[in-house]
């Protein structure tokens, strides 16, 4: 059976482009689908996701190494056809496995880090190995010099397409399963370019089979919600929202964790505890949670108006099914980031009530920092009150949970004159510059406000002076460092708390980090140039994480803007690699310049971070948003892309080897960046710590390149 197109010349180039574009598109989109699925099945948090992303990158890197011998020994078109078929089919099995695997454990149980990471890795690694192996194989189609640079550029363009397709189309319009159907068909089309006409019917049949799997979406999804009838399941850019029914009870679940159920009464405390501090007719800003009954309870205090802001518009749509209070005349609904809203708002409020989850990621941590409290204070009237909740305990706050509370308490105490914490399963924090009262029940009785649970069940222990004083004593420990935007300590402590709660081995994160480092060391053993690429991979990931967090701190969580930054980063990488081809002289000098440039950018970013969060002037805010942060992101990516390209030109050996090994180094570096910065440095050292780690690493790279440059040892086999 012959191929309809010759593998050489123009046709080989077509295959090269088709393969890498589809490969990049699929790997990024499938990665995003899988991570969101893992979030739901394995109670995913930053630790699970960070480690998993690290494993994904490493496995893809390993795949690219394994692809080298395969590219030399098999017929490339056959291998790539098989690769595309596998990439089309595997994700369905993976999604089904991710949804079904928790059934092997106790139903409803949150799995620990070991089980979550081990199971997800086992499920995902085959895909990563295949997609990684296809990179050098696709490069081998060209059979010319400079292939690695071209692979890098085309693959990055594919990544950009995948990221944009998922973030702008799939997440709004399609279910995860349907997204995989589209990607599967794309892979089969790419596969068809690799093969003869005789195989096309087989591929067409496979395509039809893929489309025919759609009913399995709901079937496999229902495994995740045992005993519940699914009413609605919706993807949003932020999470997977589900509404289920158990008997007459409606349940709202976010990433498969119950968020709210009919008969829940937690909102009583959140509404009444702060509003009892104020006269009736207060003006209120409510950040999140309003559709779950909080507005109904607030209405009992006859507020003058309530500004209610919600990040995810899909949550607002739940009001039709749940409380139906958003149409009240004194309620004004806004969609957007709560912190940004406060920053921009010129209105003064009597109460700012934050109903958000604990600071379990850097995005949420922004609502528990000293800087946020200061911004809120300036939006409050002189006797205004800030209220929010934080992880508590019925009877005993253990050390990790206490550390979270202490970091936030220290930040709050440094901002407000009066801080009062009501203890319980959830701690209710009140802060104001005016004195605060503990006699909530008395105020409620005076106003004739009835509650179903708060007064009779919760307040007797919440407002017990012994319990309040005991907690206050524990929180007010001296020398506690406050939770801050650039040093998200509460987030770090919360990760520790989760590790303890889930019974995960304490050393697992460290052990995995060490393993990643060992792997990274192996990836660039005795090869300073590969080490350079590795450090750039690390720098890219570390910069991306830090600068996006910095942007969120200053400007809030703006989904499209953040997608834009990630795209900008990838465009920078591709452009860097593309442009480098015109600078052919003194490659070593170019590498040194890139190292130096990244060092300077790390130093500038440090300064930008420290100065940026204090910026108040509109001109500077505009400049930071539209010039400084995007420029930093672009330049870092541009430098890393340029350096990758120059290193690939300087490397000796077959192009396939160069591609495979450099991809391994780059992805190993990115994996280190994800795991080390995301899970260790950022929560414990803050943004500045992460950027300093980049600076230090790049200094080592620069030093090594200078030494090896003098000895004329470029280091690549």
């Amino acid at each position: 059976m012959g191929f309809p197109l010759s593998p050489n010349g123009v046709t080989g180039r077509h295959r090269f482009w088709a393969c890498l574009l589809v490969l990049g598109t699929s790997s990024v989109s499938v990665q995003l689908v899988m991570i969101r699925e893992v979030m739901s099945s394995f109670s995913g948090n930053e630790l699970v996701i960070g480690l998993l992303l690290g494993v994904w990158l490493l496995a893809t890197g390993l795949g690219s190494l394994l692809g080298i011998p395969v590219a030399k020994q098999v017929r490339l078109e056959h291998a790539l056809l098989s690769g595309h078929i596998l990439m089309a089919l595997m994700p369905f099995g993976q999604v089904a496995a991710i949804r079904g695997l928790p059934l092997l454990w106790v139903r409803g149980e949150m799995l620990g880090l070991t089980s979550a990471v081990a199971c997800s890795s086992l499920i995902l690694i085959p895909f990563c190995l295949v997609s990684g192996a296809m990179i050098p194989m696709a490069g081998a189609l060209l059979k010319e010099k400079g292939t690695t640079r071209k692979v890098y550029i085309v693959d990055t363009i594919g990544d950009i397409c995948g990221g944009l397709l998922f973030s702008l189309v799939f997440v709004y319009a399609l279910s995860h399963w349907d997204s995989l159907v589209v990607l599967g068909v794309l892979n089969l089309i790419a596969g068809s370019i690799m093969t003869s006409y005789a195989v096309l019917p087989v591929l067409a049949l496979l395509g039809l089979a893929i489309v025919a799997t759609r009913p399995f979406d709901l079937e496999t999804l229902s495994w995740r919600f045992p005993g519940q009838a699914l009413i609605l399941h919706k993807n949003t850019p932020f999470a997977q929202l589900t509404i289920s029914r158990t008997g007459k009870q409606l349940n709202v679940l976010q990433d498969a964790i119950p968020l709210f159920s009919s008969h829940d009464l937690d909102m009583e405390a959140l509404a009444h505890v702060p509003l009892c501090q104020l006269s009736q007719g207060a003006s209120i800003l409510l950040i999140s949670g309003g559709v779950f009954g909080t507005i109904r309870e607030m209405a009992k205090h006859k507020p003058s108006h309530i500004d209610y802001i919600e990040l995810d518009p899909a949550i607002l749509n739940l009001d039709r099914l749940l409380d139906q209070r958003l149409s009240l005349p004194f309620v004004r609904v806004h969609v957007g980031d709560g912190r940004l809203f406060i920053k921009k708002s010129t209105t003064s409020y009597d109460a700012v009530i934050v109903d958000l989850p604990d600071p379990e990621n850097t995005q949420l941590n922004r609502f528990y920092t000293q800087e946020f409290f200061e911004e809120t204070k300036s939006s409050l009237t002189p006797r205004g009150v800030l209220c929010f909740t934080l992880v508590g305990a019925d009877n005993y706050v253990e050390e990790k949970g206490l550390a979270v509370n202490r970091a936030v308490y220290a930040a709050l105490k440094s901002t407000f004159n009066h801080v009062l914490v009501f203890p319980g399963m959830t701690h209710y924090y009140l802060a104001s510059n005016a004195p605060l009262t503990r006699n909530i029940a008395t105020v409620l009785a005076e106003r004739g406000i009835q509650t179903r649970r708060l007064v009779d069940y919760d307040l007797p222990s919440m407002a017990d002076p012994f319990r309040i004083d005991l907690l206050q004593g524990l929180l007010a420990r001296e020398h506690t460092l406050p939770n801050q935007d650039l040093s998200p300590r509460a987030f770090g402590h919360l990760l520790d708390l989760w590790l303890k709660k889930s019974g995960s081995p304490k050393g697992l994160v460290l052990t995995l980090s060490v393993l990643v480092l060992i792997f990274a060391a192996l990836a660039c053993r005795k090869a300073p140039l590969r080490f350079t690429v590795l450090t750039s991979g690390y720098a890219g990931m570390a910069f991306e994480l830090s600068l996006i967090l910095l942007f969120q701190v200053i400007y809030g969580y703006v989904y499209l803007r953040i997608c834009g930054f990630i795209t900008l980063f990838m465009i920078g990488s591709a452009l860097g690699a593309l442009v480098s081809v015109w600078a052919k002289k003194k490659p070593l000098l170019q590498i040194l310049a890139c190292d130096g440039g990244l060092i300077i950018l790390a130093a500038l970013s440090c300064g930008g971070a420290v100065a940026g969060i204090h910026v108040k002037s509109q001109v500077w805010l505009f400049t930071m948003q539209y010039v400084i942060i995007p420029s930093l992101i672009f330049l870092v990516a541009f430098g890393a892309g340029w350096q990758f390209s120059v290193v690939s030109r300087m490397s000796k050996g077959a192009e396939t080897d160069i591609t495979g090994r450099l991809y391994l180094a780059d992805l190993a570096g990115a994996a280190c960046g994800t795991i080390l910065t995301g899970l260790l440095f950022l929560p414990r050292l803050g943004i500045v710590g992460v950027l300093v780690s980049v600076l230090a690493l790049k200094c080592v790279s620069l030093g090594l390149n200078m030494v090896s440059g003098q000895s004329k040892n470029t280091g690549l086999e």
């Binding site: 289920s244 159920s261 253990e398 007797p460 017990d464 304490k506 792997f519």
Partner: protein, 373 residues
Amino acid sequence: MDASRRDFLKTGLCMACGGLLVPWQNAWAKKIVSPTDAHAKEAYFYKKLADGAVQCGNCPHACIIAPGNRGRCRTRENVGGRLFSISYGNPCVVNVDPVEKKPLLHLYPGTKAFSLAVAGCNFTCLNCQNWEISQTSPDKTRNYNLPPEEVVALAEQYGCKSIAYTYSEATTFYEYMVDISAEAQKRGIKNIWVSNAYISQPALHRLCDVIDAASVNLKSFSDKIYWDLNGGHLQPVLDTFKTLHRRGVWMEIINLVIPTYTDDMEMIKRMCGWILENLGPEYPLHFSRFSPLYKLIHLPPTPVEVLKQAEAVALKEGLHYVYVGNVPGLGDKTVCPGCKETVIQRRGYGLLWNHVKDGKCSLCGTSISGRWE
């Protein structure tokens, strides 16, 4: 070079496996207890075995513990071939609660219970509300130094009618509980054992000498669910109920209704049948609403209608006192089984009125089971 790479990988893998295998409560990290420690007390029930090992006799796990190690509850350590409770006089939580919070609705309503807990538990319930103290050991918590006589003195000082051994699993601080109870008994203070009922028969018999009431969990009526969710077995729990009944200890039975696990009405019916046959209709049965907590977080709360259904099943089976717990507005009244009138009305944990006089309904004279002033 290949050999060194293999060595490198091998070392890395060994390190990784080591990291994965080191358990959270690793032996090397724990504090070694000495018999002379202020909070060490030789266990009341254990057997010495060969080679310095001991077998704990406190609960049905009957842990065999090598020297220097601890039992499953993390509170009992083999120190030189003798078993010690390591937390005697060392509670980590002390509160004054309404007795209704235990929950005990037929025991001196409207009175206060001096409540204390020591860290540790012989179960591993995935939905534990107090996991911070139950799933750790006493040397890892912030503790008070409270010998038995001081506990009793504090209970008196706060005007408590009773002392409740609660929050974690009281059986794991058995010696402390028994000694406090004996002291309290002398001073006319009642003793309440709040427990998962997972205790050995000899230990239970000695405990029954000094306690007055028990709030005991019957977590399900299936041995498999007991093992999956709680890390224990059903039969020893049922044996505990029978002994408490025989020994005349007042008890109220708590059943947590967890969706897809213990919300099967057939199982609830069998459970009520067993209670009726072995204990009679007089002990209150509380059906509690489940909320996603600790590790069991992927299940929604129990629908209220399911709890009402369970209540109806239990009443139909013939139990006299059935309550729904953790749902405001439900389970707040005690109805006389004779005239069907409300004899006790509560609001939350507070008492609104009590028409039980001398243990009888003041309206029709029917005896109302419980312990009354």
